[in-house]
Symmetry: C2
Subunit: 316 residues, 2 copies
């Protein structure tokens, strides 16, 4: 497909705003719904980071960069100003999704989060059947394709081919594969019997400790500019798919909600929890209560926790 | 002190850049060191969030708002552009710290993080003596002043005056005390014998469960626009001071590193961990291994973990 830049730019100019979808005031991002020639389109705008090229920094407070400056407040040594930035420097990165489907719209719409408490009983009776459903009917084929070298073979950073204890380390889509400060990889375990951290047992501790040691070593062996103790390894609960996998990320990468307590569980602390459990080698994390956050649009919230949390409120 | 806005603004214009201190590309922030009339000053600049006032949104893609637009890439329905923003809209919030001390400079300088593994032995022999030192010589007087109503009395949101199980809930400095989406409070426990989560024991579980229930209820009773399951309660390890306290925060508040796994431990999961421990009522979290992150400038890194992590590397 040959791309005509002027044509694409004209599309953006024709964007007619219809509805505000979401914003992130921390990262300075906004998602808007609109139409281009009566077809739905999503516009995602994000301010760019400051340029830190030396020459620009030396002129930072000049009026060429900040034409207008006004004092908001002064408290002792702290002075707050609001300044306008010359348009030559004030850039905005825009992504246009066009045409946009209902699924895109849902994905870019603000979603409220809720804290939930998953007891072992709730897991066994309500969550586990949901997890099993999510593993059926080819839903994990894309993972098995990776493990069987049918896809993403060229992306493998490192692998251990042992059928039980092995894994495959791949770059996450969010990583540019260069900047080590935002290094983000995913280790997909070869074994297919572990759906999530709920299936981890005391007997898995030696294996997990081995993974904790060799994954950072493998990353550092492949890439320079990072040391093993600058790598954070965690799992998500709930994960986005139910084949056990680990996230191995540069400690300096601010991953937002994906790394937050209530979503991310450090591998080191899961190992420690398993070791401290009262029970034999078959005892595991299916026997503990877990607190975590869920989006209101998620199936698990809709099907399971909406009613449970609602009952709690009715009792008060 | 009467403030002359023009005078303060002139200070900013006189800022002479000397050294780059730090940046956050996610939040679009940059910290610069410089001088004003030969005295050190720190300039902190942060781009502002997009205005989401209706009128502005309807004109979002117009050339009045985005004078120049250029296509970067197109992949199927995804179109990426880089646009310049008219200076009327491209604002920058600036904080000037002047005069700035060495302590300010250290605080605003980039700090590398490291993952550390604190075994029960390391805690007992190296970390606990450090914690005890940090509790001596009046270092916690500011906390005791709050608990004794000698300071911040007017800020108390709610309190439970029981000497053993009671607490005092206060707004965190980071919260504007209005916006519920960024609600951030701190519960300071009345009892003075718990230094951190390391001192929590099985016998504390009923008390902790009670706190987990009543703190969200108290916040919702005081403020509208939030429900108990939209409040996340966690503790930091390492905490910034060694008198046990809880952070109770709106779940939609993206707290960055302060809420990240490796720093924040959800109260719910600590309760669950305590309940699952093998031992009697006196068994507690001092007996488990903890994985967390530490800044390289922190005393604990310098004194304890720098050497321990270094040894690990030497062995390889």
């Amino acid at each position: 497909m040959s791309i005509n830049a002027a044509e694409e730019e004209a599309k953006l100019r024709k964007f007619r705003f219809t509805r505000f979808l979401n914003q992130d005031t921390r990262t300075k991002m906004v998602n808007l719904l609109g139409e281009i020639d009566s077809t739905p389109a999503i516009l995602i705008a994000e301010k760019t980071a400051f340029s830190i090229i030396g020459d620009h920094l030396t002129k930072f407070s000049h009026d060429l960069h900040l034409p207008k400056v006004s004092l908001m407040e002064r408290n002792d040594i702290y002075h707050s100003f609001l300044a306008t930035q010359d348009s030559e420097y004030g850039e905005v990165k825009i992504t246009l999704i066009f045409p946009a489907t209902e699924t895109h719209i849902r994905k870019y719409t603000h979603q409220e989060l809720r804290m939930v408490v998953e007891t072992p009983e709730i897991y066994r009776e309500l969550v586990k059947p949901y997890v099993e459903e999510k593993r059926r009917n080819g839903r994990l084929d894309w993972v098995y394709n990776i493990l069987e070298y049918k896809s993403e073979k060229e992306s493998i950073i490192v692998e251990d081919t042992d059928d039980v204890e092995g894994f495959m380390l791949l770059p996450d889509l969010k990583w540019d594969r260069k900047t080590m400060a935002s290094m983000y990889t995913m280790a997909i375990l070869r074994r297919r019997d572990i759906t999530s951290l709920r299936d981890l047992k005391r007997k898995h501790v030696p294996w997990l400790k081995n993974l904790r040691r060799i994954i950072p070593e493998a990353i550092c062996g492949k890439y320079g500019g990072i040391e093993p103790d600058q790598i954070k390894i965690y799992v998500h609960y709930q994960p986005s798919y139910y084949h056990f996998h680990l996230h191995a990320v540069s400690i300096s990468h601010d991953g937002g909600l994906g790394q937050t307590a209530g979503k991310a569980f450090l591998l080191g602390n899961l190992i420690s929890w398993l070791e401290s459990l009262d029970g034999d080698e078959e005892t595991g994390l299916e026997s503990v209560e877990l607190t975590y956050s869920l989006g209101e649009e998620s199936e698990l919230w809709q099907r399971v926790f909406k009613e449970i949390n609602g009952k709690g409120k009715a009792k008060e």
